[in-house]
Symmetry: C3
């Protein structure tokens, strides 16, 4: 028998008991849940960061997976709690946009506002809905409880947008993530750029212009050299072969980056 | 068939091979063990920190779970090795107090000093009993080996106490944990305070007095403002709505904090 | 039924989506895979560090385990991709030496260069073979796909060597790892030293000579004192009882360390 998959994504870190508590709650409801940590290192309260992370990962999971996400700066306030059913998955988390990018990619079928306190851990705290609401709801979903039992369908919920790109003489883009290797991931999708591989890119960061080759592998430049490349998430990345591009360029997430394709 | 649950709590960190080794040892004995990482980021050799962590988490696990804990500054010395059977769980770890707070909460039924070397990995090192003693004992427990087979019952073992509170004009309390969000968790339990929600608290830290509201949710104050709240572990916490209270107050674990309830 | 074990060792860290993506790919191919994180905190691109880590851990796993390793600075270049079958295990990863120390210890039976694109995720990126090649190959191996189906046997692949020891008047050794506790792990194996336990060691680091006792447990010296000890991985370690030896000695991985056994 296949065990139900529950992935966990939070901003709880590894030093506090919160994640271990949520896993205990889930196992007490669904003892054969297969729990997979996506990350607990989302920057604290950073909904945008968490939403991008989730969007990069979920589609690689098998049909039926339950994606449980707790990045919840508004815990205890009036913000709602959601289950989103998409073509392949269930998403469970706060109604603050965190689930929206990933859910839209898969194709939304139904959004339910969680209301039925039968499924909650009691007493319900005002500081840790990951334990009291989201983990138990995910556990009961994994036990095949129908989504309708948890609350009522809603149409109005919070959705994030991927920052848009302005395309004038230069493409005005934004840095959406910097990974552990210092790869600078922009919001320019592959479709904008595929005709230009092998050409050069001019990138402008804080008035400084860099001309860099647009490659298909890191090893097309010498170790230590900078390049542009379509990364594994299908966005333009600025990288250094075996080096840290973010550090060398002195950039951060949400910085603007202007890019011109040089067609000579 | 339900897989036996073994939770792991250590101070081994994520960069060294120690945790991966322990998991290999467990799986070699009990191939269907369901291993759950509580944390490996307990401060090195900090028994008190580990004991508080364990106490916050274990009760959320289903009956029968085995809680394996290795924070073991005395490894290789004369300190003993324990299995504690409680109402719902088994605890396995060194006899240095690390298991005591969690075990007491659940209700202790039997404490066995581990002696039977049949269950150990050999040769037994003097530096890594997590691998040679505790992991194999947990694995054999998960295979339903009776606790009596591992050693002899004892009555005298090391027990920690939660630091006590002095209640004069002010409550003299202590900071027992600071979490990733900067929430300052004190040793003042809910029962001391429930009548006072909605009132104000006067908190005194190193001669400086702060008057803060005593709330039931973070969102009762503006983002960036300080508050007192009964946290998810049922102790008084000093927090900032979407901010870091420990940083703003300049406090650390084990600092004293004096609190007066203002009833006006 | 026993679930197939896949261990994961990478330099991807905990903040990026890469590990979660690989796990999704594996579960989509082999839904009952039991995935065990060895570590994702190998220093970026540090093949030597990863190879030592792997060698310390794998032998504790049960027969049949698949060890999936992605430390891959040459991703997208001409470097090959390997499956190594050893007496007890399968190893999957890039042909850059990362698998070699662990595989040799267990006893190599066959090395296959992965070529059959049928098993890859498509389109194959040039930046993330962990997702597109290594994770799917591990997943299909876990589904009992025969190793011959993935490519052709090769004899010529990259193998690391453990740095050798020169034994003159002093043993000229090297620091191969420093763990979270500050234990300084050298490349001097137990077999070099067993006759000398109880004697003293003279250790020379950057012209400074320290004379320290050679102990069998940390507790043979006072808390805070330095000692030599055969560590859990059967190499000589320089440690401080409940303290950080690497910090006190000011040493780093790959530093030279000269050692003389004092037989008086």
């Amino acid at each position: 028998m296949i065990e139900p998959i529950i992935t966990l994504l939070t901003d709880f870190g590894e030093k506090d008991p919160y994640v271990g508590i949520m896993k205990g709650v889930i196992l007490s409801i669904c003892p054969n849940a297969k729990m997979i940590d996506l990350s607990h290192e989302i920057e604290q309260h950073n909904i945008r960061d968490g939403a991008f992370f989730l969007k990069s990962v979920t589609n690689y999971y098998p049909k039926g997976a339950i994606h449980l996400v707790v990045v919840d700066p508004g815990v205890g306030s009036e913000r709602g709690a959601l289950i989103i059913k998409t073509k392949k998955f269930y998403f469970v988390g706060p109604d603050n946009g965190i689930l929206s990018l990933a859910a839209k990619i898969d194709g939304i079928e139904k959004v339910v506002k969680i209301k039925n306190t039968t499924y909650f851990l009691k007493p319900i705290s005002n500081t840790f809905h990951g334990r009291d609401i989201f983990a138990p709801v995910a556990g009961h979903l994994a036990q095949n409880e129908p989504i309708e039992n948890f609350g009522t369908e809603i149409k109005d919920w919070i959705q994030l947008e991927i920052p848009s790109i302005t395309k004038n003489e230069m493409i005005q883009a934004e840095i959406i993530h910097i990974d552990r290797f210092g790869n600078v991931i922009t919001n320019i999708p592959r479709t904008f750029l595929t005709d230009f591989v092998g050409k050069e890119l001019e990138i402008k960061i804080e008035k400084k212009i860099h001309t860099i080759p647009f490659c298909t592998t890191y090893s097309q430049v010498q170790v230590g050299n900078i390049l542009g490349i379509i990364g594994s998430s299908d966005y333009l990345e600025i990288s250094i072969n075996q080096g840290n591009a973010a550090e060398r360029l002195g950039v951060q997430v949400e910085d603007q980056i202007d890019i011109r394709l040089i067609v000579s």
